[in-house]
């Protein structure tokens, strides 16, 4: 058991990528615990005029979610490090998919303009650039396959 723990400690050292993220996540989690502790300790005297949900539980949920999110990121980094050391899953197609990124961004812009100018049709219209962007990406990967 001790041997396994020691081996694990070596793998997740602070100066490894996953170690940095875990360190950051743990310190944030400690801050959330402190927040929860102070909130609960103060609940009776301080919170009589406050809405306990938005003043306490909500902020713990928001902050706690962020800390959990960082743990998830560190887990992903660690998994990729061990499962895909050569980052094959993140390869870039050499076909470059020229215009795919701009087209995708145009789609997002059109979607949001629908909010400003009141037309649901505009948000639906945004689907067109999204589909075009997706097609360009796929085309770029097929190019790689042919190469």
């Amino acid at each position: 058991m001790l041997k396994r723990l020691n081996a694990m400690r070596k793998r997740v050292h602070i100066t490894t990528p996953a170690g940095i993220l875990v360190f950051w996540g743990v310190t944030n989690a400690l801050a959330v615990v402190l927040l929860a502790g102070i909130f609960l300790a103060d609940f009776t005297p301080d919170f009589q005029d406050k809405d306990p949900f938005v003043s306490g539980y909500l902020i713990i949920i928001i902050y706690g979610s962020a800390a959990v999110f960082v743990f998830l990121v560190s887990l992903i980094v660690w998994l990729i490090r061990h499962r895909d050391p050569y980052l094959r899953g993140l390869r870039e197609p050499p076909g470059m998919a020229v215009g795919a990124t701009v087209t995708f961004a145009i789609g997002a812009l059109v979607f949001w303009l629908g909010l400003a100018f009141g037309g649901r049709w505009m948000s639906v219209l945004a689907a067109v650039p999204f589909v075009v962007a997706g097609a360009l990406e796929l085309f770029a990967f097929f190019q790689k396959a042919r190469a």
Binding site: T15, T27, A31, V54, W112
Partner: protein, 604 residues
């Protein structure tokens, strides 16, 4: 032993290699994406800065009517939003996009198309924000756009909608770029570049990007709530949504202040160590302090809501004041590095030193408002504006300017004029302090923020006039800066690969760097610490010393091959002495091109 690239990097023509506008806009080269993002942000800086000058003109005298109250609200909303969402925050990450792959010895950035997508999101976000400002009935609910003021009942018209779209897109764009910068540092480092060998700037980018990843999604959620509140205002009218929005907004809104701070600490730190001729003091402590600092800055957002009566004040007061500890470690590093070094007072160095000094004023006034009792008095007053502007403008922007003067030769291959740069610096210092110091006094004596005018007998007139005069100096400073960039790009005073005698890897490659950053002509030197080029020069110096002693001692491996390959990229032999200031205060002529008599012998 030299760490060499084992095989030649691909030299085939790829889209983005050519220099046409289309190739730039679609390029996946991190250097181009970084430069494009910074260029867009700098253009917007001038636009939003001109709004600030108009605001100061309005407030120079009581009862002025340059702007109507409605227009005044729109001006400060666009000024604040534009500066934060589309200028300083994107710049802070774009610096990482440009520099990080060079600094860690990577040929490219991780997921370059996501980085490019980030740029387009930022550009379209900026477009929406400006569009929303120029539309009749533009956004006027301030940069936080609290509910219910920002819902469709109280802010009708498309201006607020476009504001929401702009903030969402630019925040999402910065988030994408932050991901790729962090990924590059964690996964694409060159052989030998361990995490304890990355430059201080890279550590500040780690802290920065962690904040971006953890906090920016909250802002996206907040904007989604605002958008839904625009569609159905009644459904989002309850205390839960109103206060929930504020919590989400500030969960982003405070960390973003540190996103606008950390990278500029890195800029200033790199300048300080190079122009002091010594390594950054307390590297490991600074790295850990930065991580703790970024954690702490996630836990302090509630101090913006002290006065709401709905916050756990004692917790947020404790965490806010606790940030003093990591900040103190960074300042100790700054002082110790300065004390050890022999300084060269270039424009970049002057901006870097002033960054630390002026940010201190912003930081210390932050401690005051971290106390709920004082915050109740100063809340929503000009004191808060003074604190914020000292943090972001007097602090971070000076850090950015230090970085701009420092890395401009690397990015363009040309020096900026040092003489004009120093005029720019002096005008900036005068303008900044004359503009923002009166804010503290105005706030203390009770001038609230976001007012379009004030009565003549309120006692605010003189201080407002002084502040407006200072703003004029700032406007002039930015004109001088633009002129400096223009004239320097026309003069084309060539910069060497290692323009200032830098210590980090970006100075080992050409200026501007090749497409994949390093190649056989510009190989990555052996990485033995966070200052690999200084290590290389020290090895050479020791070798030369041993050779002159004639005792045949060997002084470590490496040296000749690296030196021959790196040629002029070597750092300065004796720090400051190697780069004497040029005539008339101009940039050091031919720094790195002509060997000074004290340059160590080249192994050629």
């Amino acid at each position: 032993m030299t760490t060499r690239i084992s095989r030649p990097l691909p030299q085939r023509q790829v889209p983005g290699d050519r220099a046409g506008l289309g190739e730039w806009l679609l390029s996946t080269d991190h250097k181009r994406i970084g430069l494009m993002t910074m260029t867009v942000s700098l253009v917007l800086l001038y636009f939003n800065g001109s709004l600030a000058l108009t605001i100061r003109a309005q407030l120079a005298q009581p009862g002025q009517s340059i702007l109507s109250p409605q227009m005044y609200n729109q001006f400060f909303t666009e000024h604040g939003s534009g500066m934060i969402f589309t200028v300083i925050t994107p710049i802070s990450v774009a610096l990482g996009v440009y520099l990080i792959p060079l600094m860690v010895g990577a040929p490219r950035i991780a997921a370059p198309r996501i980085t490019l997508l980030g740029f387009w999101f930022i550009a379209f976000g900026a477009l929406c924000l400006i569009w929303g400002f120029l539309t009749p009935g533009g956004a006027d609910a301030g940069w936080w756009s609290y509910l219910p003021l920002s819902n469709s009942i109280y802010s009708g018209g498309p201006g607020e909608d476009l504001w929401i779209a702009g903030v969402f897109l630019s925040t999402a764009g910065t988030l994408m770029q932050g991901w790729t910068v962090l990924w590059t540092i964690l996964r694409l480092r060159a052989p030998g570049m361990t995490l304890m060998h990355i430059p201080v700037f890279a550590w500040t980018q780690i802290a920065n990007c962690l904040l971006v990843i953890a906090a920016f999604p909250a802002q996206l959620a907040a904007m989604a709530i605002l958008a839904l509140a625009r569609v159905d205002p009644q459904a989002f009218h309850s205390n839960f949504w109103v206060f929930g929005y504020q919590q989400l907004f500030w969960f982003y809104g405070h960390p973003v202040v540190y996103v606008m701070f950390f990278p500029f600490v890195g800029c200033a730190a790199e300048c300080l160590q190079v122009f002091s001729g010594v390594r950054w003091f307390g590297y490991s402590a600074t790295a850990i302090a930065l991580l703790v600092f970024s954690t702490g800055s996630m836990a302090v957002w509630g101090h913006h809501l002290f006065a709401s009566g709905q916050q756990v004040n004692d917790y947020f007061s404790l965490t806010s004041i606790g940030l003093l500890v990591p900040a103190g470690i960074e300042y100790f590093g700054f002082l110790a590095t300065m004390v050890q070094g022999r300084h060269r007072y270039t424009t970049a160095m002057l901006f870097a030193i002033t960054f630390f000094l002026q940010f201190l004023i912003g930081g210390l006034t932050g401690i005051l408002v971290a106390s709920p009792a004082i915050d109740y008095h100063l809340n929503n007053s000009y004191f808060i504006l003074g604190h914020f502007h000292y943090t972001i403008f007097a602090g971070s922007f000076f850090g950015f300017m230090a970085g701009f003067y420092f890395w401009f030769p690397k990015a363009t291959g040309f020096y900026l004029s040092e003489a004009i740069g120093k005029v720019h610096f002096v005008l900036m210092v005068i303008g900044t302090n004359v503009t923002f110091i009166p804010f503290f006094i105005l706030g203390y004596i009770g001038m609230p923020r976001q007012i379009a005018s004030y009565p003549a007998g309120a006692g605010f007139t003189t201080l407002n006039l002084i502040s407006s005069i200072g703003a004029g100096f700032l406007g002039l400073a930015f004109l001088v800066f633009a002129y400096n960039v223009y004239i320097s790009l026309r003069r084309k005073a060539p910069a060497a690969a290692n323009a200032w005698g830098g210590f980090t890897l970006e100075w080992a490659t050409s200026s501007p760097p090749p497409r994949f950053n390093f190649n056989l002509q510009y190989p990555i030197p052996k990485i033995t610490s966070f200052a690999p080029l200084l290590d290389l020069w020290e090895r050479q110096r020791d070798r030369a010393k041993a050779a002159s002693l004639g005792d045949g001692r060997t002084l470590g491996e490496g040296g000749e091959g690296e030196a021959a390959a790196l040629g002029e990229q070597l750092p300065p032999p004796d720090g400051p002495a190697a780069h004497p200031p040029g005539r008339g205060g101009e940039h050091p002529p031919g720094v790195g091109q002509e060997q000074s008599p004290r340059t160590p012998p080249r192994q050629e």
